[in-house]
């Protein structure tokens, strides 16, 4: 796993290394991998947009800095999504070239849990009246 990460960084520094490994897979699989990558990028964009929307449209909260904190967490999650998208895309591409199994990842689970916990947390804030001025 750690080894993979290092290889990805090395591959990004010399892109030809990714192409040299193994054999070129069926172009349809590469395109499917590309679309997954783009779907993750859109997830990242949606999280960033959520952060901007919070900062712009939520009135200042009773707790100082809470609004900016929520926006900041969403922006960080979006950035993490974008970085992970390209790392996972490269790892899948390399696995396909080498005829190995596609890499598994905990990231989608972790993101889903974070979003769920965040949503429940916001619900608690709404119900306890933290959002009402």
């Amino acid at each position: 796993m750690e080894d993979d990460k290092v290889n990805v960084v090395a591959a990004s520094l010399s892109p030809s290394r990714l192409r040299q490994t193994g054999t070129t897979p069926d172009y349809r699989f590469s395109l499917a991998n590309e679309r997954t990558f783009l779907a993750w990028l859109r997830t990242a964009l949606a999280l960033v947009a959520g952060g901007i929307a919070i900062a712009q449209f939520l009135p200042p909260l009773r707790t100082e800095g809470l609004r900016e904190g929520i926006a900041g967490v969403l922006l960080l999650l979006g950035s993490a999504c974008a970085v992970r998208a390209v790392l996972h895309w490269a790892a899948c591409e390399r696995a396909m070239r080498q005829g190995k199994d596609l890499p598994v990842s905990r990231f989608p689970t972790v993101l889903a849990i974070l979003v769920a916990v965040g949503a429940v947390g916001l619900l608690v804030l709404v119900l306890t009246g933290t959002f009402s001025a």
Partner: protein, 104 residues
């Protein structure tokens, strides 16, 4: 011209549309961020930020259109590394600019 039979899964078309959707999402995000910049004040700092947002969006426009044109063949090549890094760079830059729209 002797063309191979069309891919019944329409993979290149679907991938082209995925790039369009991504560009569209980034456009909405850029407009939302730009709105936040100018809604209260329009000074030199705001103009700079709008220009940076526009340049970042333009970068994604170029990356996606180059890729869309590259996909307009029957057997498109794998997404180049630079295009993938460019697209991710645009998203990260937009996140950084979003932080700046909150502080200016």
């Amino acid at each position: 011209m002797n063309r191979p039979p069309r891919d019944p899964g329409a993979q290149p078309e679907r991938t082209r549309l995925a790039w369009r959707r991504t560009l569209l999402a980034a456009t909405v995000l850029g407009l939302l961020a730009a709105r936040g910049v100018i809604v209260e004040d329009t000074g030199p700092r705001q103009v700079t930020l709008i220009a940076l947002l526009a340049l970042t969006w333009l970068a994604l426009l170029i990356v996606s259109h180059r890729r869309i044109r590259a996909l307009a063949t029957d057997r498109p090549v794998t997404l180049p590394w630079l295009a993938a890094l460019g697209a991710v760079g645009v998203v990260l830059t937009l996140a950084v600019l979003a932080v700046l729209t909150m502080v200016v």
